[in-house]
Every structure is written in structure tokens, then in C-alpha cells.
Amino acid sequence: MAIHAFLLDISRCIGCEACVAACATGNELPAGMQYIHLIEQTRGEFPNLSGSFKNHRCYHCTDAACVKVCPTGALYKEDGMTRLNREVCIGCAYCTDACPFDVPRIVDGRSSKCDACASATAAGGKPWCVQTCPSDALRYGERQEILAEAHRRVEALKTRYPKARVYGETEAGGLGVIMVLPDDPEVLDLPANPDVPLLVKTWQQVVQPAALSLTALSVAVTGVAAVIARRNHMQELKQLHAQQTKAAQEESQE
């Protein structure tokens, strides 16, 4: 299956919140649950102000920290997107802690985040937010095409925003939401390096396997050794009894 991605052009977002409403309606989200948060950002000092809207949502990292730490497999990768099966989520909040973008939320005891409209896209449709965006700030398609479009838009933007850049091509293994940024990511409240921290990798790839294998090894070693050691101990008890009996007999003869 082809790897898909969103295009999110921050320079085109007008903050209308149509994506927020379409997402909530299309996905029939209960009250209190929201997959997209629009955050107004203002930069500079009066009168030289500029602004944009941060479209805060799951960025569908290829090397997704949430998927790595999820203990039950409720979070998983499919079609380039990070899906969530709430039915098997236990609400441990590891994903909330691990996400470099601070996206997943625990709602009603289970994780909650955008799953890229899995049912709509599986039926050949587009995510609800993309369908409703009136300013072409959002698109959805094959990742290579989306990347090419992002680079085209950045080139066009550079005359007006010299620091314009594509974000998400390589970050965290490549994001499933390719962003067109008019400025540096830090300025737009995005992490410059959202890669999975070394401590998380060590925990997942070294500590957990080591804990399991050493536990199994200790059980196996003591299990086998117990049979040998018990036999040895029985033998030494037998020898001890024999020596004691002999000594007692010798003493009674004297």
C-alpha cells in the first residue's frame, strides 16, 4: 500500500476552524474530544507584527515514539499514518508522555488522537479536515507527491518569507504531515528535533528485552540447578547421618 501524507501549509491557513468542526462532526467525536486544535500565534513587536495559526494535531511520525512505547499495540502504523484502536488502549498515558509534539490526550480513560480518518480513507475518501479546508492549506495524497508540492510552495514563499522551509521530510523518521512553514520551527512552537530520545530507545530496545531475558534465564538456571543442588544436599545429609551413627556406635563401645 502506498505511503500517504497530509500537506499542511501554515502560510495558507486562515484560522477558520472548518477543519476542527469537520473533524469533530465527521468522526462523530463526543463532547470534550477534539483531534485538531487551532492556536493563534503572533510574532514580532507592534507595529511589525506577523501571525499564523498552529494546526496542532497528530503529525503521524514514521518513527513514532507513541507507537514504540504503547504496551498493548493500541497505537500502530498503517499506510504511513499512526492509527489508534481505542478498544485496546489501557490509558497508561505512555503515549502522552512520549510524544515530542504533546499530542495524545487521555479522554474517558483512553488515549485520544487523530487517526487520519482511517475509515474514510480506507473507503477511498479523504480525511474530513482536508475535504473542508477552504484555503487549500490542507491536502492528502501519496507522500512523494505531497513532498513535491510542499517544496514548490516553499520556493514560491521564499520571496515573502526568506526563512520558509519544509518541515517533516526527515524529522522523526519523516512525518505523515508535511508542513510548509513561513519561519523556523521553534518560532512556530514546533520542536527542531522531534526524534525519539535516546533514553526512550534504551528503555525499549535494551532495558525491556534485557529484563525479560534475564528473568527467564534466572528461572531456567535455578530450575536446572535446583535438581542438582537438592540431590547434593540429600547426599551430604546421608553422609552426615552415617558419620554420626558411626561416631555414636564407637562411643558406646568405649
Binding site: 498493548t72 489501557i90 490509558g91 532495558v207 525479560l212 535446583a226
Partner: protein
């Protein structure tokens, strides 16, 4: 330091296979049972989110609830011990961190003890050096598993990626250590027929004389003084 065995030194001693010594009082056995039960609850429910084949059983959330109940019980063990047997708790703590020359000598011969040869080991008191080390390990790693667990429980969702990884790594490694200690504990219980110490409270005097001669001597002195 002497490695002589009191059983060998006293061939006249009447064979006392049926004779038993009180090893653990009722309160101590209750505390041990609570500790063992809560630890096993924590171990198995913890494994359910660590080992992929078991995660299926964690998905309905029941294991998480059992883990929390087990955690509360586990944390209550020191308090329970102080309530039901303050003297026993104090003795255990002090003895676990106090090692004499015989203990050091015992460690040098620990390999043969591991293989089931206790006769001729350096004389030991109520706890042999291995038991002391085991108990000290349990105290220390219980503290690290409790603190990392509390941290993960109460700061849930606010730890950050590195905070979560650090706390979870300490938690996992502490449980690994405790589980290895448990495997060793069960191993020696089986090899040296010590289960009765925690079921009835009594151990055969014959085994006690081999493994804990200084303790038997101490009891006999106390008994003589009492008589």
C-alpha cells in the same frame, strides 16, 4: 573464623530429626504472605504490559487495577511489619546490613552452598550471609521500584519522554532484580527444605544446625538462661 560444623563436632548429640525450632512467628509469616502475594500480583500484571504475548490480557484494564491494588499492599508491608512484629522488623533490617568475618568467609564458599553443600560452611547466625544479601537487595530494590512506580502513577501524562523512560527503566530493572532474587529465594527454599519455616513457622533442628549453628546456639543459651 572457623569453618567447623557443630553437628560434626558433637557426635554424641542425639539425632533430632523430629525436633523443630521456631523460625518465624505468626506476625512474620503474615507479613511474608502479604509481601509474596502483592509481589506476584505486581509481577504478573506488570509482565502483561512488558511481554507482547501477554498484552492481550492487559487490554480490558483489569490488570491495571490489580497492579494498583498490589502496589498499595506492597507499600503497606513495612508498616504492617512494624505493627505486627516491631522487634522482628528491626532485627531483619539491622541483620541484613550487618556482616561479620564468618559472613565474608561464607561468601567465599557461596558456590558450594549454591550447589547444595551446606555442611562445612562457615557458621552462620539466624540469617546466613546469602540471606542477608538477599534481604538487603529486597529492601533497596523495593524502595527503587516503589519510588519509580509512585512517580509514574502520580505524574502520569506529565513525565515527558525522557522522564517516562528513566522512571520506567528504573522500575523495570528493579523488578528484574527482585524477580531474580525471588528465583534464588525459591531455589534455596527447595534445595534446603525450608518451606516449613513460612508455612508452620518451624524448621527441622537438624537443618538449622547445619546452616545456622550460631543461631541454634543462641537459642539454646537463651533457653538455658530461662530455665
Amino acid at each position: 573464623m572457623t569453618t567447623a560444623n557443630p553437628v560434626m563436632e558433637k557426635p554424641n548429640r542425639e539425632r533430632t530429626e523430629e525436633e523443630k525450632l521456631l523460625r518465624y512467628r505468626v506476625g512474620q509469616r503474615i507479613v511474608h504472605a502479604v509481601l509474596a502475594t502483592s509481589f506476584l500480583m505486581l509481577l504478573f500484571t506488570g509482565l502483561m504490559i512488558l511481554w507482547q504475548p501477554l498484552t492481550l490480557w492487559a487490554r480490558d484494564g483489569t490488570s491495571g487495577l490489580i497492579h494498583r491494588i498490589g502496589a498499595v499492599l506492597f507499600m503497606l508491608v513495612p508498616i504492617l511489619y512494624l505493627i505486627v512484629d516491631r522487634r522482628g522488623a528491626k532485627e531483619l533490617l539491622v541483620e541484613s546490613f550487618t556482616y561479620d568475618k564468618d559472613d565474608i568467609a561464607w561468601f567465599k564458599h557461596a558456590g558450594r552452598y549454591f550447589l547444595g553443600r551446606a555442611v562445612g560452611m562457615p557458621p552462620q547466625g539466624r540469617l546466613n550471609a546469602g540471606q542477608k544479601l538477599h534481604h538487603a537487595g529486597v529492601v533497596i530494590t523495593s524502595a527503587t521500584v516503589v519510588f519509580s512506580g509512585i512517580f509514574m502513577w502520580y505524574a502520569k501524562g506529565n513525565l515527558g519522554a525522557s522522564g517516562l523512560a528513566l522512571a520506567a527503566s528504573i522500575h523495570d530493572l528493579s523488578m528484574l532484580t527482585l524477580t531474580v532474587l525471588l528465583a534464588g529465594h525459591l531455589y534455596f527454599t527447595f534445595v534446603y527444605k525450608a518451606l516449613s519455616a513460612m508455612t508452620t513457622g518451624y524448621v527441622p533442628k537438624e537443618e538449622a544446625l547445619i546452616e545456622h549453628p550460631k543461631w541454634v546456639e543462641e537459642i539454646e543459651h537463651q533457653q538455658a538462661a530461662h530455665d
